[in-house]
């Protein structure tokens, strides 16, 4: 049994997942549009190029997402996506990459549990925590 975060976007899923692929050195596995899916007939013409399912592999983990139907979209709340990074330099790189045009909520720094820890909300509204724990 595995559990993955599934993120909801307001029409910007494709742009967000391409941004995450680059920032996190991930690999896009799937980017299916409403218009290409069996749901095409029930989709309004202006939503057919929106994403019904996106899937990005990051190491062994999966991040999934889609564009919500416009009237059902709600901004992300109550959760952050936590990234555990092994190297402090890589944690700094990932933090800076995700923070581009976003909002830093806690600059990446040393804490009592981590060599590097920081929090941000990216330009697409996804909240992230970047954590590089102390060895041992």
């Amino acid at each position: 049994m595995q559990i993955n975060p599934y993120l909801s976007f307001n029409g910007k899923c494709e742009a967000a997942f391409k941004f995450y692929e680059k920032a996190l050195h991930g690999k896009m596995i799937m980017m299916m549009r409403y218009g290409e899916s069996p749901a095409a007939a029930q989709t309004s013409p202006d939503s057919r190029d929106k994403i019904i399912h996106a899937r990005l592999a990051i190491g062994d983990a999966l991040l999934m997402g889609s564009d919500a139907p416009p009237q059902m979209y709600e901004p992300m709340q109550g959760v952050s996506v936590s990234l555990s990074v092994e190297e402090p330099g890589e944690a700094d790189r990932v933090f800076a990459a995700l923070a581009e045009n976003g909002t830093v909520r806690m600059p990446i720094q040393e804490t009592f549990w981590a060599l590097r820890f920081g929090m941000l909300t990216d330009q697409f509204g996804t909240a992230w925590m970047i954590n590089c724990e102390r060895p041992g």
Binding site: Q2, I3, N4, P5, S8, E74, Q77, S80, S84
Partner: protein, 136 residues
Amino acid sequence: MDVQPYLFFDGRCEEALEFYKKTLGAEVKALLRFKDNPEPQPGMTPPGAENKVMHANFRIGDTDLLASDGRCLGQPKFQGFSLSLWAKTEAEADKKFAALADGGQVQMPLAKTFFSPRFGMVADKFGIGWMVLVSQ
């Protein structure tokens, strides 16, 4: 790099951990309370929240998840994301879905779809949306 959902239960974290132990066989690996924070910050939590959970790490199946009581105001709100739960068998999907629906709300009953022999959506009693499906 590992990718994990970090969930903010706003004061109901221990209740949630008990619920996921019962429903999903969760195992709590680490739990730190605000009173045990080696670097307490005044105003971070309301008075009386000393025993609330600053940070918890729990395992469900093959996935580690993270949680906190956050600001401890007693009103958890989860929106703009879901957790996708991959069951190995249809029977496991049925069992987990029913358990998560206890006290919650079924949004889409489990059924066969074009991408999975079993797929359903349910918001649990804390408001977290789950997408339960069977790996193909």
